[in-house]
């Protein structure tokens, strides 16, 4: 007759509590300690980076809308590339060294490649670890991922006395963050011409980068976005 203690499940459960009975994975204490120490050591080494202080910022480190604070972002992001795949404008790119070596291949926005589509929240929807939070569209449209600046040395109405309002026309915020100032300037042949020079309102700009993306000056545009003013980071601000 079978005893109850012969039951396979029961004996299997017991085998977890009897040291020496089950098979072991012998890694060697020294190896385990070395591996752990390497992990902790690398973590310490990565803090030796000015940006890790939380007081120094990289203007090119523009994270997708809904991204959490940089320290938490780096502890959450698993660099899976879901956001890069889903981004409809191809703006989300694997980072190089913008966030240090430890941030390699995490997502950053490159406004020369694409821009952040105003009516889109897909990167937040697909992120499996909530490094990018899923936000309702209305909320996302108020999130600043950066701030746009006019480069007066390159912008056509400023630098070359030529008419251009491409950035103002593309600006997607309900009240346009880019406004133009009509001003009379002297062109190359000495004629007085009227141009519209763009300005950016930091209160309204969300840093979507469509101005930079559409600027006719392709290689280094006359208007560009940097990370300052991003909602996720209370330190990286320009307005007091």
């Amino acid at each position: 007759m079978k005893k109850w203690s012969d039951n396979v499940m029961w004996r299997w459960l017991l085998s977890f509590f009897r040291p020496g009975k089950g098979p072991r994975i012998n890694l060697g204490r020294r190896n385990v300690l070395t591996a752990g120490a390497l992990g902790v050591g690398a973590a310490c080494l990565c803090r030796v980076h000015p940006q890790a202080s939380g007081r120094v910022f990289n203007p090119a480190l523009i994270r997708p809308p809904g991204a959490v604070d940089e320290q938490e972002f780096l502890s959450r992001c698993i660099r899976c590339g879901e956001c890069m795949k889903v981004c409809p404008t191809n703006a989300i790119q694997p980072a190089g060294l913008e966030a240090g070596i430890k941030g390699m291949w995490t997502p950053v926005l490159n406004m020369n490649v694409g821009y952040c589509e105003f009516d889109c929240t897909l990167c937040g929807q697909v992120c499996p670890t909530d490094a990018i939070r899923e936000l309702p569209l209305e909320e996302k449209q108020k999130i600043k991922i950066g701030q746009s600046f006019v480069d007066k040395n390159r912008c056509l109405p400023y630098a070359s006395a030529r008419p251009c309002i491409v950035c103002e026309e593309h600006c997607p915020t309900p009240t346009k963050a880019i406004w133009v100032e009509e001003i009379e300037v002297t062109n190359a042949s000495g004629q007085k011409v009227l141009v519209q020079q763009p300005h950016v309102d930091p209160e309204l700009c969300v840093g979507c980068g469509i101005c930079q993306n559409k600027c006719p000056i392709k290689d280094q545009s006359g208007i560009y976005v940097t990370s300052v003013g991003e909602t996720r980071n209370s330190e990286n601000q320009m307005l007091l």
């Binding site: 752990g36 698993i78 890069m84 490159n110 499996p128 670890t129």
Partner: protein, 321 residues
Amino acid sequence: MARSTRKVSAIVWLRRCIQTLCLLLFFYLFLQTAYHPINRTGGPVALFFELDPLVLAATWLAGAPVPLTLLFSLGTLGVSIFFGRWFCGWVCPLGTLHQMMTQVRGGTTASRLNRAVYSPRQRWKYLVLIGLLAGTLTGLNLIGWVDPFSLLYRSLATAIFPAFNLGSHALFAWLYESDPGLGSMRVTRVSEPVYEVLRRYLLVEGRPQYYWGILIGLVFGGILVLNLWRHRFWCRYICPLGALLGLAGKNPLLRLKKDQEACNDCRLCVAVCPAGANPDGPSDRSDAWKPAECFFCWNCESVCPKQAISFEFAVPSREHS
């Protein structure tokens, strides 16, 4: 030895079907990760990450609140306690790709044995796991570089798919323009309908391109090529998820049983083992079958000419430690 004439058991075919389905599901969800049609993706596109306990462990150890969807991965971990690394053998799409690459190189049983036998260096993956988790605990989350799903998805997204997309568009554009053929038999009569189908279901109109795509693609290709040197190199030596599942399932309820009397020591089982799990090890010795390495793929059971290997529910015998 004529491998093609050997019969493969039903359970191996079942496994191959499930593996193929999981791989296709991964690709399908990958393609659905798009603006589809209005600010929505085409389904639960992060499904595989939600089944990945390594992602859960890393997020949790990093001290951040864990998204509830990641708790699905506890199911993967739970089943692994009973059935070891079944996930690696039956589900993991990256594992399936490695398995395919492993199959690419044939050769004699002797040469296969060289690539298949257990190596003590397979313990590296546990050290990789420990190092990564220790780093995560102290504020450096590098799991994503080596997590199998992150690795596969990132490589697909930033390298393989963009290259395939660009290449296909270029190929069909060239066929259309040059239109080679004989008389009224033109290539475009075939290529254009094919292009139409591809564009509808596979390709995208935009041309996604990524910085670092080349390096990410080379790393991925390199990892695949390593399978020619050792069966499922990545899964054996490096994969931290495999290590985690192996640790969870190091004392599984389902176990390999070898009939010592019937065995004729042909070592075919070792040659077909993708995991280096010592399927021929006598169960009473230290070099016995390694449950923490085994993928439960049933190859050894299927290949054995003497039917000396079986899987059954059991516990380790009490006499041996």
